[in-house]
């Protein structure tokens, strides 16, 4: 795999300077300067050698992009959450007023409720669906491999495309596609996205449709780790399929499922595209989630301060969930 070193068009100047360098780790080096500062300044015996700035050259592009497009916006977002943002007039410090208006806003309270319902329902639903799919499609046969590849397609499909196709499938008259299918089973017609009572559940179904196959792959990987000898021993002891599932498979999958639940929950809280494409938050705000509310405030109503406060709160929730997951994993590693 490795190419021979002799054939290359790299200038020899680079090679020779680096090759004559002393090996790193010989003595403690001075703090590395920012990339680009390569002038050698003999000051108190400190010299910047090639090996101390080369790493910074490699990191520089990433560092630049992360600072400008991640950290700067993040800092700006937190800062703006304390201001009344007024274009051309100058921003006005308002302290915690933006946060108070987020908590006091009934639409945000409703959005919080929808977000939690969507995140929790979507998470649990997609883990269950993923689990059933994995049990059904586990096995070495080629036809099963084909099935798994086909079932996985919703995961790689862009969310906007998923939204558009489901909008049409959900067509709310009795002649709509899904209503026709359900009509054969004697169900419906349902209103899906068109009605305040069913819209949120319809969005959740789409989230499960894309989340289930994703979880399937991870559960499948977990299933390959289960010791076949245990299945054999259970078979010898006369355990039935349910007992085997309950006492061997499920306990073996517990760590995997814990991770799945946390990841899916974090994804659930930041849901934006599904809702925006499917319903835009409607009808009558019945599917408005935290992110669509932020979008509406920040970009259509131009209340950037309040929107920033809401975004900062979402960030804090995400951090808490992530830290909780890390803490849980550490504790588990400490006491295996």
């Amino acid at each position: 795999m490795t190419q021979p070193l002799g054939h290359s068009g790299i200038s020899t100047a680079v090679s020779t300077t680096a090759a004559t360098e002393p090996r790193p780790g010989g003595r403690r080096r001075a703090a590395a300067p920012p990339a680009g500062v390569v002038k050698r300044r003999p000051r108190g015996g400190r010299r910047f050698t090639a090996s101390s700035w080369v790493p910074w050259l490699f990191v520089a592009p990433a560092l630049l992009l992360f600072v400008v497009f991640k950290y700067l916006p993040m800092a700006k977002g937190v800062e703006l959450s304390f201001y009344d943002v007024r274009p051309f007039l100058g921003n006005l410090w308002v302290g915690l007023a933006n946060y108070r208006s987020v908590f006091g806003d009934p639409q945000f309270q409703a959005a919080l409720g929808h977000t939690v319902v969507l995140a929790v329902g979507g998470t649990i639903g997609s883990v269950i669906v993923g689990f059933f799919l994995a049990l059904l499609l586990e096995g070495p046969a080629r036809s099963l491999w084909f099935m798994r590849s086909a079932v996985f397609l919703p995961v790689v499909t862009a969310t906007a495309v998923v939204g558009e196709i489901w909008r049409l499938l959900y067509y709310p008259t009795s002649a709509g596609f899904l209503n026709t299918v359900l009509g054969f089973l004697g169900i419906g017609p349902l209103h899906y996205l068109d009605h305040t009572s069913s819209a949120l559940w319809s969005v959740m179904a789409v989230a499960i449709w894309t989340g289930g196959p994703y979880n399937m792959v991870i559960v499948l990987a977990g299933l390959t780790q289960v010791d076949r000898g245990l299945y054999e021993a259970a078979a010898l002891d006369g355990a039935n399929t349910w007992q085997r599932l309950r006492h061997i498979t499920l306990p073996a999958l517990r760590p995997v499922v814990t991770i799945l639940l946390t990841l899916a929950a974090i994804r659930g809280f930041r849901t934006f595209t599904e809702v925006y494409v499917l319903t835009g938050g409607g009808p009558a705000g019945s599917t408005d989630v935290w992110m669509t509310r932020i979008y509406q405030l920040g970009f259509t109503r131009n209340e950037i301060g309040v929107a920033s406060a809401a975004a900062t709160l979402l960030f804090l929730v995400t951090v808490c969930l992530t830290v909780a997951m890390q803490w849980y994993q550490r504790r588990k590693e400490a006491r295996p």
């Binding site: 680079v14 090679s15 592009p61 049990l135 495309v161 049409l168």
Partner: protein, 304 residues
């Protein structure tokens, strides 16, 4: 480890291991278990209908001349390319070009930036390495959506240079270059490579760049596959970023433009034709890099 989705090869059961212990549910195959096989086939068909069915409907609807949104079907009633013609009049090729430029540019930027950074973080010892790793990795728990509003302000007035990237494809590409996940995957992979290779190359007189490009990078192909396929899916899925960068609808990527093609006069074929065009690139990448995708997904989950 057997990567289940990616290995179509038949796993030979060991001596004495009966067939029923190969899977958790103990599915049996063979002539003597026709009932079990039939049940499984039925459930498989159901799963296929639920998860692949909508995409088949999308496919056939894109080629169907049908003004009625309630008449979607699995097979086109009157096959036609009319939908794509009308979509072309609505600038669908322009949007697709936007999408492809953004995806290509952002993927190239993201992968190269991540590989460079990971090389330094994994293979070099220097002051500030720990804090840099932390700086990159903590962004993995920062949802992109959270910084959408301030990001649009930053893009409207870049620091130091005071340029506006609003309404440009570059404004969609550059923010996508910074992705903690791919730096993380690359760094973890590069840490595992033996150091002897670089030392030998150094003794042979190879420079920094050559060690990176000709010794370390060729060994990273598995990880490169993983970050490429994940990067593409993440970039192709972008919705909010193009939405906030665009000044007017002509700047949209195809994903965002789809909603402008919802129409009652021509029927659902128009938006479905656009959706099909948006689906095809991700299908191609998925089929080409399926193994890498599954490897990346399962490696993270099983480690924890």
């Amino acid at each position: 480890m057997t990567l289940s989705l990616s290995s179509p090869r038949r796993r030979r059961p060991g001596v004495g291991v009966s067939q029923s212990v190969e899977t958790a549910l103990g599915w049996r195959t063979g002539r003597s278990h026709l009932l079990s096989m039939a049940l499984r086939a039925l459930l498989c068909l159901l799963a296929l209908a639920v998860f692949a069915g909508p995409l088949i409907v999308l496919f056939s609807g894109a080629f169907d001349n049908n003004p009625d949104p309630t008449k979607l079907s699995v097979i086109p009633n009157s096959p036609t390319l009319e939908n794509f013609k009308v979509a072309g009049e609505r600038d669908v090729w322009h949007y697709l070009a936007n999408s492809l430029i953004v995806a290509g540019g952002a993927l190239l930027l993201q992968v190269s930036v991540s590989v460079f950074a990971a090389y330094a973080l994994a293979r070099k010892r220097f002051r500030g390495r720990a804090i840099l790793s932390l700086l990159f990795l903590t962004t993995m728990m920062l949802p992109e959506e959270v910084i959408a509003i301030p990001l649009s302000l930053v893009l409207g007035d870049l620091p130091v240079v005071h340029l506006s990237l609003k309404g440009t494809l570059l404004g969609m590409i550059l923010p996508l270059g910074a992705w903690g996940f791919s730096i993380f995957v690359m760094t973890e992979f590069m840490k595992e490579l033996p150091t002897e290779l670089e030392e030998a190359a150094k003794i042979d007189g190879a420079g920094e760049w050559r060690i990176f490009a000709q010794v370390v990078l060729p060994l990273c192909r598995p990880a490169l596959g993983v970050i490429t396929v994940f990067g593409f899916i993440m970039i192709w899925d972008q919705y909010l970023l193009p939405l906030i960068v665009a000044n007017d609808p002509s700047d949209y990527t195809l994903s965002v433009a789809l909603s402008t093609m919802r129409s009652d006069t021509i029927g659902p074929g128009l938006v479905l034709a656009g959706s099909l065009l948006a689906l095809i690139p991700s299908l191609i990448v998925y089929l080409l890099l399926q193994r890498s995708l599954i490897r990346g997904m399962t490696a993270g989950a099983l480690k924890g």
